[in-house]
Amino acid sequence: MSKKVSKPGSISRRRLLASAGAAIAASPLGANLLQAQAAPIRIGMSMPQTGGLAGGGKASLLGIEIWRDDVNAKGGLLGGRKIELVVYDDKSSASETPAIYSKLIDVDKVDLLFAPYATVPTAPIMPMVKQRGLLLIGNFSFQVNSKVGHDMWFNNAPWGPADSWATSYLDIGQKAGGKTMALLSADQEFAQNLAKTAREVANKRNLPIVFDQAYPPNTVEFSSIIRALKATKPDIVYVASYPPDSTGILRAVNEIGIGDSVKVFGGGMVGLQFGAVMESMGSLLNGVVNYNTWLPEKSMYFEGTKEFFDKYTKRAVEAKIDPLGYYLAPFGYASGQLIERAIAAVGSLDQKALAKYLRENTHHTIVGPIAFSADGERKETAVLQAQFRGVVDKNIEQFRSAGKQVILFPDNLKSGELVAPFEAARK
């Protein structure tokens, strides 16, 4: 293996040599031409563009592309080297990514790697990237590095420590007087990881779990399961669900009712961050407390955030991608910014040096400051818990203004107080 391990390092060296060669060749022709001919910095990744994760994948990719265009418009990095993305579709599947990343590393010889959106496609490439000693910027995967222990992995997602998610939600619920918890989760990867941490945190706090069910993928009708949940009269309802199911669950809650005992409802519902879903759910969303990564509240605007969304909105409509794009797109852009800052500071594409810089510093991005802990996840969680308020039907534009999703957690970004119980908050 020794022969190959040295390769990735030599890639960047060779690229540097090549660009130096190009520079020498071009120098008599003047600086402008020199800039144009400098070899681009190539960033390789796979991205789900078909299959179940495609909606998120496309939005995320658009965020990264906007970053690329911004950097290139400013003249590129490392003295005029443009950014070039090499992107392949992994069909939302784990089985495609090893071959794709081998192609990126061994054939395309890209300079840097980004991970695909989500856990399933990312998990199989972790051991490979570690073995070859390559830097990898993660993209919303959940705890893929906990067993692998790669020290050059940095996740762009705001998750933070694994249990912080359940902790923040249960904090809100318990503060509102919650004494029991019901747990409804999709029997799929991400939701099950959330459910597991929720159980652990609840046990630690001696919070009784009165209902704990995992519903199977492709469940059509949630009336009966909501009825069973309601019968246990829980105070806190923690739901970890996937996009089509989130809609089904909220509809069933509206139809069947959930009972007056419930203080807070939501927590881990994937899908309620996507424009198309939010638009079609409309007023059914009111009262739900759910996780988010970015929201148009005042506290969430950092340098460049507004400009980013101006560009995003225009391009997303053309590309038939989520017109809001709060959930993933700004973090795709932030992935680029992380790399941009690191390259600027280090002054080369040396992967070890870039990783060292990323690990040791706090980085300012359009989604706020990012600092990493030893496992490559955020030092502190920046997952928002927010409550839907005053949402009306059939209007996607309403979600662009502040106040529709009031941030309850974390404290430094807070923009309002919880309205409880759930039934009261729905009105």
Binding site: P98, I100, K103, V144, D187
Partner: protein, 319 residues
């Protein structure tokens, strides 16, 4: 017959030597990653054809067998740290049992009823694995590869060679079946099950045998995939794609001759690998769809059928 046997085994030996040589000479890893996938599909398509092609029983449950192979390995690695050969052997054994169970369960079912039963079986098994926490359940599981053994210097190269061995094994079995009484019996069973039974062909035993062999091979092919991905989750391991792609490969190649599935798998498998790293979008799926439609419409007997036609009136099984 004899001369063709010699040709076959020489060809198989050359293929294996070439695969081994490739692992020693080529240092770029990508050909092994992509090649592994293609070889895996060749083996799957050949195994599928034993039941689906010769006997005409369309098995939609390729992904069930493949997934059980994957999870068999996951379990063995987690519980005993079992080495790769043991994983594959165990996979074959489990697959044989599963094939037997499928055969017994569907004894009286014919045609599309059999196919639907295999779909149902897939869902039952996938749900069971999803609920089995020890092997990761719905959340999936990451597994570590052990050290690679000489003469290979990367694990993927070794897996590539192992899969090449499985391909030769599957093809040899399939070829043997085609030329033996089993193949003729299955052919009779496919043409007219009732008539075959009346003329003394042991249809039930043959069908069970085909289920067992096909199942064992498909599971064995799935077994090393756990080590290839170093990760397993039910959604990927039991993906409907394995069933559809395998069926498509066999039909595109043609099921009348053992070489058909190989040709189909090489053609479709390579196309898919190339598309993944070129066009790489939903157009990829469009190409698969169009290829399926065009081939079944334009070449109903597959590529092998086309070759027969071009060669004139030669009877099946002569090459």
């Amino acid at each position: 017959m004899k001369r063709s046997s010699i040709t076959f085994w020489v060809g198989a030996a050359v293929f294996l030597i070439a695969a081994l040589a490739m692992t020693q000479i080529v240092h770029n890893q990508y050909p092994f990653f992509a090649g592994y996938i293609i070889l895996q599909f060749i083996a799957l398509a050949v195994a599928w054809s034993i039941l689906g092609g010769y006997a005409g029983y369309v098995n939609f449950g390729t992904s069930a067998f493949y997934g059980v192979g994957v999870y068999g390995s996951v379990f063995l690695v987690k519980a005993f740290g079992a080495p790769l050969p043991l994983q594959i052997l165990a996979g074959a054994a489990i697959g044989a049992l599963m094939g037997l169970a499928l055969g017994l369960l569907t004894l009286r079912m014919q045609g599309i009823f059999f196919s639907i039963a295999t779909i149902a079986l897939t869902i039952v098994i996938e749900t069971t694995i999803t609920n089995w926490r020890y092997v990761g359940g719905a959340a999936g599981i990451q597994i570590q590869r052990p050290e690679v053994t000489a003469p290979f210097d990367s694990y993927v190269q070794m897996l590539f060679f192992v899969q090449a061995l499985l391909v030769v094994l599957a093809v040899a079995i399939s070829r043997y079946i085609q030329h033996s009484w089993i193949g003729r019996g299955l052919q009779a069973l496919r043409d007219d099950e009732l008539a075959a039974e009346c003329t003394g062909v042991p249809t039930l035993r043959l069908k069970l045998l085909a289920c067992v062999i096909s199942g064992a091979l498909m599971c064995a092919v799935g077994a090393p995939a756990a080590m290839y991905l170093q990760y397993a989750d039910p959604g990927s391991a039991f993906n409907l794609n394995y069933s559809v792609t395998t069926l498509a490969m066999s039909l595109i190649g043609g099921t009348a001759h053992w070489a058909g599935p190989i040709i189909g798998a090489i053609l479709l498998g390579t196309t898919q690998q190339v598309l993944t790293v070129t066009i790489s979008s939903e157009v990829n799926l469009l190409v698969l769809g169009l290829m399926l439609v065009l081939f079944v419409v334009g070449a109903p007997e597959g590529i092998v059928g086309l070759i027969y036609k071009l060669r004139g009136n030669r009877k099946e099984g002569e090459i």
